[in-house]
């Protein structure tokens, strides 16, 4: 496949490369990362470039790897009137995303109580196969969660009012319609509010040390003050509810494509015109799932604050446990660009709006939007901010994590969960896991080096790195 260098971090596959491509495909990566990318990325990003109504480019970020239909790390924007919407461009875990919570505590405060803190967090935030949360809901209440998202939680005391301005869309995306959600989806999700799930989802206690803060004024504006400050990162999504919404509408779209005469190069790219009844139904149901994910991370935040409060015997308010930000990395949204209103799909890609955008809360209007990128549980994670360049080049989008390079089975053959847990403890990282095999699958060596990925987006100018956060405690499903 022809891949042309545009800059040291931008690579373009011309629209002439594959029959049906409507726009070129662009991959953001260093040459080293590009060379190591699996071939599926190149096939999939060029398949996306064939979808009706796509604008400018089909994009893939440097953490890209093979996904269902769209690659993970994929970004594509479609004309609202003539383009499509695709569940494959969002992913099964609708509004899987990242949340970062700051504290006033330091490593010196936490280290003596870390074991107890991790035990308390593990007890209060259920994880693993089929785990259930502590909130019992009936269907009308769950409908309210779908409509109000994190706002529903705050109204019921699971959070602070100013939490909402620190969540993408204030934790409540409009345009929901619970009647477009199947009973199956509700039954899978109604008991799971406040649960982590498994796979690559986690809750992590991390340290922000002075030597890993790259932009002190911006970090301070985001609440990251360094001096071995303790922060908490959460990675999870809409759980069984969102998974079922995605599964349901993939089936609907398979049939709808025949009706609308759309052909795609991969069954998992099933799509429908955004303006069609099927497209509108999926968008409404997806927004319900997206709000449930914001609510899920909000309830988890409440439980994290409760755990810290119990261990440090002080109210969470006095521990400075404000949310830094919460951002989705599996979602489709209507956003305005030079071309007009577009349906922007981000799958394993994070919104990264630059300074001045009206969608950003006042507190981040000058810095640009905080972007939270999770690394493997053994390495580190990053806090970045969005830039004007992202608005111009990538529909305000950037990377989301490090991206796998090794299969789950190979990782399990390379290390046992118990052995990994012990090795990490020797390096000062306490791990609590429901599944030891699941833990082995998430070993650090199974992922790309997140620092390489962050350097690529930083050099490309589509996000600016602010701080690296080092893990000291991790909870896995």
């Amino acid at each position: 496949m022809t891949v042309n260098r545009i800059t040291d971090q931008i690579w373009e596959i011309p629209a002439s490369e594959k029959p049906g491509m409507l726009v070129p495909a662009r991959i953001y990566a260093t040459e080293k990362i590009l060379t190591a990318m699996d071939r599926g990325v190149f096939e999939q990003v060029t398949n996306v470039a064939c979808l009706p109504g796509i604008r400018r480019y089909a994009l893939c970020m440097p953490d890209g790897h093979w996904g269902y239909g769209f690659p993970i790390g994929g970004v594509a924007a479609f004309d609202r009137d003539t383009g499509v919407i695709s569940p494959g461009g969002v992913g099964y875990d609708i509004n899987c995303g990242m949340r970062l919570i700051r504290t006033d505590l330091t490593l010196a405060d936490v280290a003596p109580r870390l074991e107890r803190l991790m035990t308390e967090l593990f007890r209060r935030v259920p994880a693993g196969v089929g785990s259930k949360g502590f909130i019992r809901l009936n269907r009308p209440e769950f409908d309210e969660v779908m409509r109000k998202g994190a706002r529903w939680c705050v109204e019921r005391g699971y959070g602070w009012h100013h939490d909402l301005e620190r969540i993408e869309e204030h934790g409540c995306i409009p345009g929901t319609d619970p009647s477009k959600v199947s009973d199956h989806a509700v039954e899978r999700g109604i008991s799971q509010l406040g649960t982590l799930g498994s796979g690559n989802h986690y809750l992590e206690v991390q340290v922000a040390s002075d030597d890993r803060i790259f932009d002190k004024p911006t970090a301070a504006a985001l609440g990251i003050t360094g001096h071995d400050q303790i922060v908490v990162m959460v990675h999870c999504g809409s759980r069984g509810f969102g998974h079922q919404v995605a599964s349901d509408y993939l089936k609907v779209f398979e049939k709808a494509m025949r009706r609308y005469g759309i052909t795609v190069k991969d069954q998992q790219l099933a799509c429908a015109p955004f303006r069609s009844p099927e497209g509108q139904d999926y968008f409404a149901a997806m927004n319900c799932a997206a709000n449930s994910a914001f609510a899920n991370r909000q309830v988890i935040t409440h439980q994290i604050r409760e755990a810290f409060s119990a261990v440090f015997e002080r109210p969470a308010e006095s521990l400075g446990m404000d949310i830094v930000y919460d951002v989705a990395h599996n979602i489709a949204k209507i956003e305005r660009y030079a071309e007009g209103e577009l349906v922007v799909h981000r799958k394993g890609s994070t919104r990264a709006f630059g300074p001045g955008r009206p969608e950003l809360p006042e507190i981040y209007r000058q810095t640009g939007q905080p972007v939270i990128c999770g690394g493997s549980m053994e390495t580190g994670s990053y806090l970045l901010v969005g830039t004007d360049q992202a608005m111009q080049q990538t529909f305000g989008s950037t990377m989301h994590g490090s991206g796998r390079t090794m299969s789950r089975a190979q990782a399990k053959r390379s290390v046992r969960g118990e052995q990994l847990q012990k090795q990490m403890a020797q390096r000062g990282i306490i791990v609590k896991a429901v599944s030891m095999s699941g833990l082995a699958e998430e070993a650090g060596f199974a992922y790309k080096n997140i620092s390489d990925v962050v350097e690529a987006v930083d050099a490309a100018g589509i996000t600016r790195k602010v701080a690296e956060l080092r893990p000291i405690g991790n909870i896995k499903g």
């Binding site: 996904g67 693993g128 196969v129 089929g130 069984g240 991969d266 699941g438």
Partner: protein, 146 residues
């Protein structure tokens, strides 16, 4: 050919995939169900305190298998159940030509203290999904989103 499955490594880097085989559609469905069950839990750690009967029919054997496997994922979340064994029959109906599935899953509510839990399957996917006949036997390739 006997009823069996094996996990595949070269299909889904971040997820999990398997190939199931059986002499008949019934055996294929049972082997596929066992692969899904074993992805989520070590079945030898699960007791048989409850059963779930599942009946479905579909013109397409592929769609029937897909929905049957999705049922196991649904029961994990909606009813909090994991399974240790499965019995099923899949036959073509004389009346309308549809494939008829009658299946029974045996297991119990999830108990992290006793069950060796593994991966929480998000969905059965259509990526490289295939059901085919080969040398008189039946083979399915299934990728699960983890």
């Amino acid at each position: 050919m006997t009823s069996s499955f094996r996990f595949l490594e070269d299909i889904a880097l971040a997820d999990s995939a398997f190939e199931a085989r059986g002499d008949s559609p019934s055996e294929l469905f049972a082997a596929s169900a066992r692969a899904v069950i074993e992805t989520m839990v070590a079945p030898q750690t699960v007791s048989s305190t409850c059963t779930k009967a599942i009946t479905r029919h579909d013109r397409s054997l592929e769609e029937l298998l897909f929905d049957w496997l999705a049922d196991i994922v649904y029961l994990k979340d909606a009813e909090g159940l994991v399974f240790q064994d499965v019995v099923c029959t899949v036959e073509k109906r004389q009346a309308d030509g549809d494939w008829q599935l009658n299946g029974t899953l045996t297991g119990e509510p999830i108990d992290p203290a006793r069950h060796e839990l593994r991966a929480d399957i998000k969905a059965i996917t259509k990526h490289r999904y295939e059901v085919r006949q080969d040398n008189g036997g039946w083979i399915a390739t299934v990728v699960m989103d983890i």
